[in-house]
Symmetry: C2
Subunit: 461 residues, 2 copies
């Protein structure tokens, strides 16, 4: 069971973690390690480290562990011997799907697919989820452009050699501050930090501005509305320019509901409604990337539900809390076999955990909990921003998916470090944002502990 | 336990599979499904389907299941409750590695790392293994080019927007017929079939010819040597051209030891030795992609061991039979934190299975077995090529990693279909090759059954 509050016995990382970090540095890059983790001793919202410390975890494996550590219902999945053959025999899901696959995928679709997106493509991570969604967009766009005309054998031979009409100069429009993964296609649409991009060749695809709001929202409605309008205007100009001048037609638009790595930048419902309209007007398909925002983290199942879009986006990608990657789509994206394909196409062992996770979320009303706890958390953060105006500002969030900005990067980084040593595991987003990504079993009680430590840490500056 | 021979009760796919295929077609692309599989009833080298058929599997989940179905030692891994927390708490390996990670990765390195490549980067699949190996190459190449000069803040800001010296015009040289994955970077180096590439934008990177030998090798030494020389000459010309004229310097060369998707094309030890020399001469780093050929499938641990290279390649990628993706590298590729990174960086649950797989391979001498069975299999295939010269030819292989060509694509495809209905699960490679990829527990006895059915199928044409 969870401790009542963080238990801190050593500096973080402690001596045992440090030893392991230095050892693993001989066989791996080790510079990203926060501390070595004792997953057996971790419980619920508390992560245990190699040195016997227990931290309240509001970062949860980069927002990827939905029900916290060692959740009893998830433990039952693996304890059940009936499930074991699913772990032991990893299938190539595309060619030899297990008999239970249809039922399990149907359950997932019935529980969580956005309206109208009644098909699913599973993948193994968020990057290949986005990469393959881009491919689905390109395939559909180029097929429509051909208008039923078949490619010649010569065209097909050329495309194998990266040439000709089978390798079209199409593009995906992405946003400054966006993050969609690290493989080359996904990385071409990622614009979060230099260190994510440096030294890697890329594609010349359009990049548009994303709103940068002032907070609190209710005191800055005019400024923020202008942000929306200016961004939308520039987006349309860029699409036009790429369609007609650069001649790399914008087949798709990829966007996060909240820019979750690049600084927790939000867009308004109005912005997203207009963006969807713009896409339709210019035949650019809309892909909403819910890899980090998805599965209840914002107090709704999917963050884009906050936007009241008249219809679902054309595609929606997921990963992280879903435990597998993939995307939901509609049958207009159906195409020939073997075009969207790879060896494993995900991992049914993870689908099993997802299935049980969905049951628990429903049974325990965790999305409602997230909304309530999120409101409480945000109110507290806003208070702290008022109390420490020289240190932090711009408290914002949906559900528990909250953030605020440090006055400088150094203040933000120092704050994270101080909190770590006070027993709070937390993270950064973009240049100055402090990122809050707890599990779905994070309660008001946990919020109180976090807010108390945050207050103390701010006081100590 | 395995049946003594295939048990076939229905057509393949049978009625239950067909029903499931039609059902799943409503929620997924279903055109690639061979049949629905009963993983509980599958044993060893025999795959069981939804209709009670048991096929001898010489394709093994696209060459990815090392020890066949429900191997007792692999079952013990999951039956052991001590291991369960490793499944339940999926970690972000880069930031919060589990305490056992150093030990497990060290074991893997000590057991299977190529000489001199004593560091490991884990990933979740073969595509991100290659994508990140490319990034490691680009980072090193561009860092060397800068010669210690720091980038300006303006350079860094530009690179976030896909521009400037931080987004260099570097390239990876790949080979006609090669396959390295399906995400956009990997796909730019994949040249196997039009259907893998069609309608997806790509990068203008150099593509070189790969030898196309005549068989049997011992009767065509002169022709094949000329193939090597001509390819090597053209490779050097292309590198020169890209370095000096196109000005997209060739930072790396990616190559499979055997082109495993594009038609089972082999290169000689001489070809690979010279290729490595060429790379060194032009500062192009050599990445050998052992995703499909690796972990004992060719009668050696890694297929490139057949080439007697004076030293290991600069990097070597793996996935499939390894159960996780990744690459081995040397410390010259060490760089700043967060450059090669993603949320999960693989899955320790799969590392657990890999660990036990390596134990079994060693204990049961499975690589030696593969060599012996492979020799026996190849001798039989060569005989059949002599018996049916109008139907099949060019038997070739290393270990059990064997192939032969159909006289036409239709003959090859018909043969696969006939064999399926005679109880042999097999696959295709490239335009006309018949691909053989059994597990590492495939014996002479299994070979006899396969060869018998193959003979009968050929007779029936
Ligand atoms: S690219 Fe997603 S798992 Fe490899």
């Amino acid at each position: 069971n969870e401790p009542n509050e963080p238990i801190i016995k050593t500096n973080i990382p402690g001596p045992k973690s440090k030893e392991l970090i230095s050892e693993i540095g001989n066989i791996q890059q080790a510079g990203t390690v926060v501390f070595f983790t004792d997953y057996e001793k971790s419980t619920g919202n508390y992560i245990a480290d190699a040195d016997g410390n227990h931290l309240l975890d509001i970062y949860m494996q980069i927002a990827s562990l939905p029900l916290g550590y060692n959740h009893p219902d998830i433990q039952k999945v693996i304890a059940n011997p009936k499930n074991h053959n699913i772990f032991v025999n990893r299938p190539a899901l595309g060619t030899n799907p297990p008999m239970y696959l249809f039922e399990k995928l149907s359950n997932i679709i019935n529980s969580v697919a956005p309206k109208g997106l009644n098909m699913i493509q599973t993948m193994a991570c968020g990057s290949c989820a986005n990469e393959n969604a881009y491919k689905a967009i390109f395939i559909r766009y180029n097929t429509l452009m051909r208008g039923g005309k078949e490619l010649t054998q010569e065209d097909l031979n050329e495309c194998v050699m990266n040439k000709g009409p089978g390798c079209p100069d199409l593009s995906i429009l992405s946003f400054k501050g966006g993050f969609h993964g690290r493989t080359l296609g996904a990385l071409a649409t990622t614009h979060s930090k230099a260190i994510h991009k440096l030294d890697v060749p890329t594609l010349d695809w359009p990049i548009a501005p994303f709103p940068r709001y002032k907070y609190p929202l209710e005191e800055n409605t005019e400024y923020n509305k202008k942000q929306d309008e200016e961004c939308l205007k520039e987006i349309e100009q860029i699409i036009d320019h790429f369609n007609t001048v650069v001649k790399k037609p914008v087949a798709g638009i990829v966007v996060e509901p909240i820019q979750s790595e690049g600084g927790d930048h939000h867009g308004s419902p109005y912005f997203f409604q207009q963006l969807q309209k713009l896409g339709k007007k210019h035949n650019s398909m809309l892909l909403i990337d819910e890899v980090q925002t998805g599965l209840g983290a914002t107090g709704k199942l999917w963050a884009h539900e906050h936007f009241n879009l008249p219809e679902s986006p054309d595609l929606m990608t997921f990963a992280k809390k879903m435990q597998i990657g993939g995307y939901f789509y509609s049958d207009k994206f159906k195409t020939q076999p073997y075009r969207i394909f790879n060896t494993w196409l995900g991992d049914p062992a993870r689908i099993l955990f997802l299935e049980e996770t969905l049951n628990v979320i429903k049974r325990d009303n965790l999305i409602q909990l997230n909304k309530e706890v999120g409101d409480y958390l945000l109110a507290n953060l806003r208070n702290l921003c008022k109390t420490y105006p020289g240190l932090i500002a711009n408290a914002r969030g949906l559900g528990t998916f909250c953030a605020f900005d440090g006055a400088t990067a150094k203040i933000r980084d120092d704050l994270i470090l101080k909190l770590k040593n006070m027993g709070i595991q937390c993270g950064a987003s973009g240049d100055v944002a402090f990122r809050i990504r707890p599990s779905l079993i994070f309660t008001k009680n946990h919020t109180d502990i976090f807010v108390d430590r945050l207050d103390k840490a701010l006081k100590s500056f």
